[in-house]
Symmetry: C2
Subunit: 420 residues, 2 copies
């Protein structure tokens, strides 16, 4: 019997009416002859309420947003995990009221074991010994997402949005045939439809492309959930929970590349406004200088993304430009100023009014000319490119934030995505 995992986020289970609707979607899959495990988030707003209670007692956060006291992290996780505990119980009841056999599973009941990293624990192991047989006996398993149990027997949470990842991890452990992620959009689009009205829903997309899109700014799926699915060859389907049973709702299938996909050169255009650009001017010409900059950033817990070295035309000195997350900018600047002597530069310039725009496509592997098409399209609109970064299947450029929409539309059209 095919086995699927269905995952519903907070807005899909926002109130009892939505929970009843989710029960109808689950029933349809069970009646269609699938073994079904469902992973649910907390009712929307509930996680914020619980975090608010903790913050009112303890707002003592380190600069990276983590709590300074790891014992308080333990309590935070235990408190916040109660949100999914409630939803999983309510959905199990709603399913039973429709005549299905269903039960809830909390992280510690599965058990879904995690490491000790608080509020962003990684999944170490899932024992499927209890939940698997329960599915085989015809029970729907309703799993509280977002939570596990660590080696000290405390509740751990997988971080905000971690329920995508726990859904995929459970699907992998259960050897499911597919993981369906229900959300408030009906699939993965060629670009953000709020910017480009001709954006199209993709029927299929390759894991690698989805991974690039997710890490380049597309917010539909968590990067970690895609990695996990790819490594285990588990197809993910992204679809909307807002349609009724029986309505057309194909969504987008994220899976290993196939022949259909290879005909496409570019699958999507992503953008991210979360970047900031830092330039170090007139660097001393010493070996290992880039390594020193990277070490300073890594010591300050700042991730460096794009990086480019150049020569200033005016005074023939070396400059180094790189990007960091916008919210890490102050921290990065402080660390660089503290290492000014060690690194050896004269001046820092920074700019947070920048956007990273990327084109992604698995077809770039076998097709040339993508870069040319991209830079021509941008040049035609007089959009200046500050930094460029490439991988086998994507090209990213950093541009002035003002040009974001213009660039996204120009690239969408240049690669013919409106009718691909």
């Amino acid at each position: 019997m095919p086995r699927i995992v269905m995952k519903f986020g907070g807005t899909s289970v926002a109130d009892l009416e939505r929970i009843r609707h989710v029960a109808s979607l689950v029933e349809a899959e069970a009646k269609a002859g699938n073994e079904v495990a469902v992973v649910v988030s907390a009712m929307s707003g509930e996680t914020n309420r619980l975090v608010g209670l903790v913050d009112a007692l303890d707002a003592d956060l380190a600069p990276d947003g983590k709590r300074r006291d790891s014992a308080i992290e333990d309590e935070y996780d235990s408190i916040v995990a109660s949100g999914e505990q409630v939803t999983s119980g309510l959905l199990a009841i709603a399913l039973r009221r429709r005549g299905l056999r269903a039960r809830s599973w909390l992280g510690w009941q599965i058990p879904l074991r995690t490491d000790m990293a608080h509020s962003k624990a990684r999944i170490a192991e899932i024992e499927s010994s209890a939940i698997g047989p329960s599915l085989k006996e015809g029970n729907v398993a309703v799993v509280a997402g977002f939570q596990g149990v660590n080696e000290r027997g405390r509740i751990s949470t997988l971080g905000r949005g971690g329920s995508d990842t726990s859904a995929v991890a459970i699907a992998v452990a259960l050897k499911a045939d597919r993981c369906d992620i229900y959300t408030d959009v009906d699939g993965i689009y060629t670009t953000d439809p709020r910017i480009e009205e001709d954006a199209r829903r993709l029927n299929r997309i390759a894991f690698e492309e989805m991974l690039e899109l997710a890490s380049l700014g597309a917010k539909v799926l968590q990067t970690r959930s895609v990695e996990l699915a790819m490594n285990n060859n588990l197809p993910i389907r992204v679809l909307t929970s807002m349609r009724e049973v029986g309505e057309d709702n194909p969504g987008t299938l994220v899976c290993h590349e196939d022949e259909t996909m290879e005909e496409r050169v570019v699958s999507g255009v992503a953008y991210s406004r979360d970047e900031a650009q830092i330039t170090l001017l007139r660097l001393a010409d010493r070996p290992g200088m880039v390594a020193k900059v990277c070490k300073a950033m890594s010591d300050a817990n700042v991730i460096v993304d794009m990086i480019v070295q150049g020569i200033s035309r005016s005074d023939n000195a070396a400059n180094l430009t790189f990007t960091v997350g916008k919210r890490d900018l102050d921290k990065a600047l402080a660390a660089l100023n503290a290492s000014k002597e060690t690194i050896g530069f004269e001046k820092i310039k920074s700019d947070s009014d920048v956007t990273k725009v990327s084109v992604v496509g698995i077809g770039m592997r076998s097709h040339t000319g993508v870069a040319q098409t991209m830079f021509e399209a941008l040049a035609e609109r007089n959009i200046n490119v500050e930094v460029i970064a490439t991988s086998e299947i994507k090209i990213s450029v950093l541009i002035d934030a003002e040009y974001t929409e213009l660039a996204v539309r120009a690239l969408h059209s240049a690669f013919g995505l409106e009718n691909a």
Copy 2:
């Protein structure tokens, strides 16, 4: 080092301000050199909110208030237990913010094992292997009350108000020296101060007396928690959570009888308005008739309390009068009418406008004349006694509800409780 358990109900942890106050009370006990375990209820209103969510999905209750589907009971328990999960985490954080070492313990983490009776599970066993050493290491244990884990690994709850019982059970398992139950009154009174303004707080009361008072209508402590404490010789102190640290707050110590107590004949006057009276008129004079009535009630899940058999003066026929819980009255009448032939009676009379008033005192064992004093005091006020029930340490009478306050005041004064 002395070890104590402190228990705080829903109003004591109603909001973050109250939780911070509870933390100050706990700190004072820890600083005074005690090992401290704290048992907490859900923030007041939270349990009702959670029950409301379940009821909105599933209001399919049997006449005894239990859910018809035991799998739904499983979910009910899991959902409702989240309330205490949140409070225990918040209090642990508030304690750490005061510089104490503290952690929360959920029912399944202790583990507090219960049997399978849903939403009124009884405690089968507590393993203190983890929590005891944690206390010894100087940690305050904050235990989520009201919850345990059953033999199938599901969360169970101990029923409304069950947190008193879980507090006492944990105190017993931890071999605590005392269990302090913090509530919104400052101790056990000789009677309800809302009725008799001269009611006095007792410094000490015997387990047996407290047990009678609790089952006779005094609502401060759960009967089961007193039984459990008595069987394990664990003193309970009842005191208020509304005073500041350092303020006088002696409360009432519930413990085995001692010499001080024996000087008192009567310790308190209790009343209960939750009774209903049923009279079966002109019973057939057959053997085993009372047994048949009791069987009919027991089959209908109705508990019979006081029972008296009499002869009607008018027609010389036998009557049987007994009391049941007011909310069971309709069920009891239906069951009796259905068994009219089997039992053999002519007519039923019922009255729910009755009150059970009781005097309780361990000194009654060694002093005669209590009944006389009681009935004289009632007769002087022209209060008619319908039914009488006695035990070694209590006398209860059923009277017309209109006379409740008058009877309570008359008895309080007749036994000199205002200055005992």
